[in-house]
Symmetry: D2
Amino acid sequence: MATAANSVTHPTLIQVDPFVPALQQKGLHNRWHPDIPPFATVKPGEVFNIECVDWTGAQIGNNDFSDDIRDVDLTSVHNLSGPIAVEGAEPGDCLVVDILDVKPFDKMPWGYTGIFELENGGGLFAQEFQSRAAKAIWDFEGVYATSRHIPGVRFAGVSHPGLIGTAPSHELLATWNKREVGLIEAHANAVPPVAYGPLVKGANVGQDLPGDVRQKIYREGARTIPGREHGGNCDIKNLSKGSRCYFPVFVKGANLSVGDLHFSQGDLSFCGAIEMAGIIKFKTSIIKGGVEKFALKQPIFLPSPVDPLYSAKLIFEGISVDIHGTGKQYNMDATVAYKQAALNAIAYLQKVCINEYLLLSAAPVESHVGAIVDSPNACVTLALPLGIFEHDILPKAEGLKKLDFGQCAIRSDGIL
Amino acid sequence: MATAANSVTHPTLIQVDPFVPALQQKGLHNRWHPDIPPFATVKPGEVFNIECVDWTGAQIGNNDFSDDIRDVDLTSVHNLSGPIAVEGAEPGDCLVVDILDVKPFDKMPWGYTGIFELENGGGLFAQEFQSRAAKAIWDFEGVYATSRHIPGVRFAGVSHPGLIGTAPSHELLATWNKREVGLIEAHANAVPPVAYGPLVKGANVGQDLPGDVRQKIYREGARTIPGREHGGNCDIKNLSKGSRCYFPVFVKGANLSVGDLHFSQGDLSFCGAIEMAGIIKFKTSIIKGGVEKFALKQPIFLPSPVDPLYSAKLIFEGISVDIHGTGKQYNMDATVAYKQAALNAIAYLQKVCINEYLLLSAAPVESHVGAIVDSPNACVTLALPLGIFEHDILPKAEGLKKLDFGQCAIRSDGIL
Amino acid sequence: MATAANSVTHPTLIQVDPFVPALQQKGLHNRWHPDIPPFATVKPGEVFNIECVDWTGAQIGNNDFSDDIRDVDLTSVHNLSGPIAVEGAEPGDCLVVDILDVKPFDKMPWGYTGIFELENGGGLFAQEFQSRAAKAIWDFEGVYATSRHIPGVRFAGVSHPGLIGTAPSHELLATWNKREVGLIEAHANAVPPVAYGPLVKGANVGQDLPGDVRQKIYREGARTIPGREHGGNCDIKNLSKGSRCYFPVFVKGANLSVGDLHFSQGDLSFCGAIEMAGIIKFKTSIIKGGVEKFALKQPIFLPSPVDPLYSAKLIFEGISVDIHGTGKQYNMDATVAYKQAALNAIAYLQKVCINEYLLLSAAPVESHVGAIVDSPNACVTLALPLGIFEHDILPKAEGLKKLDFGQCAIRSDGIL
Amino acid sequence: MATAANSVTHPTLIQVDPFVPALQQKGLHNRWHPDIPPFATVKPGEVFNIECVDWTGAQIGNNDFSDDIRDVDLTSVHNLSGPIAVEGAEPGDCLVVDILDVKPFDKMPWGYTGIFELENGGGLFAQEFQSRAAKAIWDFEGVYATSRHIPGVRFAGVSHPGLIGTAPSHELLATWNKREVGLIEAHANAVPPVAYGPLVKGANVGQDLPGDVRQKIYREGARTIPGREHGGNCDIKNLSKGSRCYFPVFVKGANLSVGDLHFSQGDLSFCGAIEMAGIIKFKTSIIKGGVEKFALKQPIFLPSPVDPLYSAKLIFEGISVDIHGTGKQYNMDATVAYKQAALNAIAYLQKVCINEYLLLSAAPVESHVGAIVDSPNACVTLALPLGIFEHDILPKAEGLKKLDFGQCAIRSDGIL
């Protein structure tokens, strides 16, 4: 007889409300620092859930305006759930993390893709496009996302945490701050800034801590924007539900934190993915001395068997020449090649659908680096899955057909 | 009754001998220039073969030494077969090229992967490693490659032309030369050079041409090293047999050239792929005005349904910090992130096999750009297919096991 | 600001408790009959959830005994949730059903695979093996299942409804009953029976209905065991979350019912899959006159892009000769060939793991019919994904290694 | 320097001309018998080629008529190349065969799909359709096949030997003949026959043998039509180039034979695949005592990583009821279910293209057996890859569109 007797629900170690500002909730922090104590502790082998607010901590609404994106407070992002200590983990060990599931809250079956304002956040093409804030709302229908702002597409999400990492040691933290502040100083007037140093304003540890500890963390804590040796904000789409990740451990307990859940993201983002609040399910184990055993300078991982499979693709090339602008020749610069491939894809998509840049930032596109040895041009490709479109977008002798979807999204400056 | 009556063999429009130096054969050229006349002409819809020497034009031998790599003459590479004119193609059209097959010569069932000497060719890590020439010979056994120099691995090739493109117009050629020579001048003392300008020495047009035409081509012809707007040396593994490619046309007839065939290459190359001589089968068609119809600034393509599928992978991350060297922080530099991911993979593989760098340069590894928006760190991943190894290389609690294969390859300086 | 304001949860149209017997709950029926009225009605385009008990209606427990399987009451299975009417659907239309998600209840993160007793249920090899009841409990850890009764394996589920269909018309129901009762009569003494006719005992409609209507349904209602023209108990693994199915409509409203959810099942089942209770998410639309438009004699469907991908497989062949028994030659009998392939797989797996038959009934194995034209032998293959095993099970020169897992599961007769 | 010196071509151990009748060539046999001596011998580890005529031995022409199919001499098929002895192989061993490549002759870049006449060969639906001979010619363009008789489709071949096996022992041969002759006698008047017993007429051993040996082989030799315990005519599409197969060995040397090459075939065939003459490349090894080590009653194999990947599919269901005919209920009969799925696919395809039955017999369709436990209905699915069609064939609200291709193929009775 089926009864609840032997039916043990997986415990939820951090609970949040996706509609309540992050600062009003416990267990959410937005800086990396070894002195943030564990919010919860697990044993190796336990299956447990962690709830996460969206990366902005409930700043963005489900509507047809993008003012909230324009005005987003970036000093307090990303709001991470944690830290979670794993019993027995010590510096030099490898923390094995099974990402067993990633899903939205039942009560919030939607997310968003946003483009920042040039002066507040920027993004991949902030300067090229003199970016104005824009937003698309996505509805989650089980494994699929659709958007009233990008009609004519539907795709399965490759859901993952945009941000996941172990806590740095004091030494590693110092290294980060030194090298990044150095970069900032070398590009003092950049808009948007080239990096973000420690900042007291907006800092949050999510726990009741003595004032001096708290202030130390505020002053020293590394910002969450970039990925680093511990993982962090890598935005790797294939670090998805079903993957197994091996992290280096830098502090006792490993102190894992996670947040910035994405319903979907490809290898391309102008700012963000399909951002969502939600629940992530974990299981951990420890390999003693794993850092040395596996030469682990950064995380490594095994991808998931359940990532979406769309075998038919249209692929765009890009080289490290500014072929969309001044024609400048760069020296083996994969970032430029990547941007050119993206611009080639945008130019094509502008002939077949609307809001192509928001689509490219959300869909499971893939970007491969071709071999970087053909001086001076790096070559990068961007592959667009054809199965996400309801109509055929292949090159035809008669040219491409743009469907008329009416006006569908509004930028912060009122332009479509 | 089966007879030869209706059995029409696909014609071979350019025939070469892979064991004869390129300069002694017709139909091979090694510069891009609009004044090189078509060596052959086809009608749209015809299926035809083109034979290609290896990219060095028979400079490399099947042996256990790497002197030939060390001393390779780079002024005369790549040796391309062509140009092939397609009847009816005009500037502004799109040339559709079906790459129907790519295979080695029956009489040469082997290829090689080489690492250049720092002072002659360089490569991805030329400076980091103070590269000495190295080489691995690969035996082609049908769809698979194996190597006596890298025992314990076997993989299916994703065979493709490393280099394929249409001829540039005079205007486009002038643009290329101007921007690249500018870059060279800005890095005058770089070793290896950042780019390679036009060079009379070693130039070849593969046809009998009037002396002044020939000299003009020698003086102006663009080198074949980088990929450019017309395609060229993009080294894209997925531009493989079975793919369909859409090229912009810049001159009457399109004047397609091809060479540098690879039995296999992943998204990573320290110098080259599994280089081979062989035969490529094509079919073409024309879409009038395709450049405008598809916003075609560079080639786009549909990948092949028969590329190898190895679903289980081990993935390495890299960020734009020199974590293997000085610790320098770069600003959103995908090239640095890519190199760090490669170094992370090398460090891991050094614990499980030999000649890991030659393996990574040859096998179907994949490198994805994560979203480049997380300032200041670009994040790039490198995925190693597990199915190519005869033994299990997954992370284990007991660590990794390096098999003892004895000495297997020799560098130019005599070091293993 | 993120608020609950525009956040609309998908409604749950049928709610059940997986730990309460099916007969005590509303909205569950276990016979097919056109006179069972809709329990709920939806409009095309709505996204909604349906909750389902496990197929036995809470008869099976999470423990290490299999008495409950041995004694299961099969007169009252399968317990289906529904019917759901879709506004506007009429006979002759095609009902398009998007299966958007299929997942277990949070409070019941486990399921089971059972083998029936010969005399109560039987199964694929009931007679060959003189089956005694057996059971394996599976724990659901996000996308994965593991079992304490089958150690050493872990695999991603291809979750699907084993049973989904539209209601039959009176005419269709009469056809079913006539042909099946005919078969039963022709095999009157078969153990287990060849089919199951209408049966008043155990029948359930899940709603308050007038007594005469209820009795008519009890007397005439088709049993749920086989798949039929309307879908039904097809046990197709790829009718999984993410798939889109096209059903013929036989009654006004279509009257869709669903149940018998599986966390996983391959193309092979000795009795059942990984059976679970859970929640299925749907969206429907109607194509008028679709039966004629698509020559729709049975459902057709598009599979999901998120089904697990395990590319490395070991494949077993089977032919229509009883090579494991009497050596009898059958005439192009795919059922025999399928069983022989399964027995070949079992014989192999007995050398590498325990409870191989329960594993084969649960894991995402695939069984292909080779071309049935090579008289007299049909040939069927069974493909076992290698990635589900924690250890290497490939054929080796040194033979296969069976891991010692201790005693792990108990049959109804006390034999391992 | 690249020279021919170390360039060793793979030897071709059996050479044939695809345009010369099989009986006029050496190394071709068409019966299974242990007394046929090896035609060639290899050492384990050698890579070698075997050339094969098409299965009919040059009986079918490249033209628009199907008389040759109607009149084909079936007493002399299949023409197999071999036997090949492997040094060291003994009864009870496992012969590992790497199928390294399968390709057509350069001089014969075409093949055919045929439907037999009811009275001469029959086929899957011979009786249902009262089959008249039909034929489609396929042109091989590298990895792809196209047909002037089935316009609008193009697909990559999954090339494989339809027929490959080791020689039977005398005991095994006797078993085959006994059980098959028994079946024939039990269905004495069947048209087409249910099986084909030994037949002196048309028998061929391909070598000069003493008259009495030859006559014994003629009298006893098993026909090549069905697959059996040694492999044989299994028509398994995934036993393709790149696969590794493990055969039981029954005689000293194993005596491998191969033939009936297919450029492509799916899991469905009405008669044959895309039949071709061509060249197969092998490498073998031996596992001593492998039959016992792997419980090897029939071959097992590892599929190829280079089989075509078409992820988007339309899937048809079939059950073991004759829903296209009398409505007869069968008892768990997968063969009937398979045929019903095929008929459902045919009915659909008749609305979108021509010669749908020839297409289904040639393209990489897949047929899965659903779990056979849902009495009395076996359920079988047939999956049609969408990427092989040049136009969209998905179900649409407006119905399906049949393109007008004109008359494209002629049956033996003059009907399209």
